[in-house]
Amino acid sequence: MKRKHKRLTFAAIGLGLLGVAAALVLTAFEDSIVFFHSPTDIAEGKVKIDRRVRLGGLVEEGSVQKQASAVTAFRITDGANVIDVTYRGILPDLFREGQGVVTEGRLQGSLFVAEEVLAKHDENYMPPEVADALKKSGRWQEGSDQKHPSKGESAK
């Protein structure tokens, strides 16, 4: 075997092993790599609820209620489970019903008290006229996963 072939084999085997190692590490740490948990994760008790967690999903249609002194109450859904959330503070511009959000806070009983609310932007980009036309023709459903059924976000 020529020296350059030796080096090539060594590099290929090295990279292969490294890839396997990385895959194992990432699988093992999956719980700490995910940025947020779905209402289903919490309902099924997959998440320790005694510490701060991030809860993500879609803001349920018709669930947003402005209460006194900048407190907003709403529900987060992933299609299967729903969790009640309250938040005191200013909401991001993209926060609206049907939109994805990620909230950070603690679960107190069955109520999730959020200390931070982030809006999640989906992968759809279009001019307002196109969005209006889609809504008029009835081909529009809020939530990215319904617009692209092949790739449901809330299914995760």
């Binding site: 990279l15 991001p92 809006a119 980009y125």
Partner: protein, 243 residues
């Protein structure tokens, strides 16, 4: 072909011919892409005018990965087949790729504050791109850390190849884990989810960023190859003068 252009002199000829064409293509593509992106394309139904940050952010992020692939492949060719021009290409690519990565992080942050409500979050996509930025910096630091440049290229080539593991992690982070960052809009099974009026300026900008990279790469490589030749010539002269 690798073997053919492994000869620095042949490569210099090619680079000299290509440079003006790449420069011209960059200017034309960037002018068209910026005009369409910043003025002639519609605002987004949700983000409004802020969507225009995408026309810089996406090409920069794309190039951050593209340059890293170029860097790692050149470094590997340099390490395994000992092609001198490949090492020069890897060294020339690193700072360009680092700049693209920084630009992607910066524009993403500027977009994130008004849209998400946060400048930065530690989700899988953002974190893995930050790691990519540090890989570039690490490559450059390691490459120049040795007195003997050969040892520097060897050590840094290994780092560049190890860092290749991060490339699929960046690309698929938004599919494998829950992230705040959106999933892919362009490269996906059911086709792009960006309206054509916004997709065209984006493609033009990606084209402009690519030709810009190749253009600056040619300039940087020509500079380094010329420097090496000059140094060799001076050394010969000095030896002749000494003898």
């Amino acid at each position: 072909m690798f073997n053919y252009f492994a000869n620095p002199r042949r490569f210099m000829k090619l680079a000299t011919v290509l440079s003006p064409w790449l420069a011209g293509a960059t200017i034309v593509l960037a002018a068209a892409g910026l005009y369409l992106g910043l003025f002639a394309s519609p605002a987004d139904y949700q983000q409004g005018e802020t969507v225009r940050i995408m026309y810089v952010h996406v090409p920069a992020a794309w190039m951050a990965l593209f340059c890293y692939m170029g860097l790692a492949i050149s470094a590997a060719v340099g390490l395994i087949w000992k092609h001198p021009v490949a090492d020069v290409a890897a060294r020339a690519t690193a700072p360009i790729g680092a700049c693209f990565t920084f630009l992607a992080l910066l524009t993403g942050s500027l977009w994130g504050k008004p849209m998400w409500g946060a400048w930065w979050v530690w989700d899988a996509r953002l974190t893995s791109v930050l790691v990519l930025f540090f890989l570039y910096l690490g490559y450059m630091a390691l490459n120049s850390a040795f007195d003997d440049p050969q040892r520097g290229s060897k050590a840094s080539a290994i780092l560049a190849m190890v860092g290749l593991v991060n490339v699929p992690i960046i690309k698929f982070s938004v599919d494998w884990w829950n992230t705040l960052h959106q999933p892919a809009s362009i490269v996906r099974m059911d086709g792009p989810t960006i309206h054509p009026d916004m997709l065209w300026p984006l493609f033009l900008m990606i084209g402009a960023f690519t030709t810009y990279y190749l253009w600056v790469l040619m300039l940087r490589m020509r500079r380094e190859l010329t420097e090496t030749r000059l140094r060799a010539r001076r050394q010969i002269q000095a030896e002749e003068a000494g003898a």
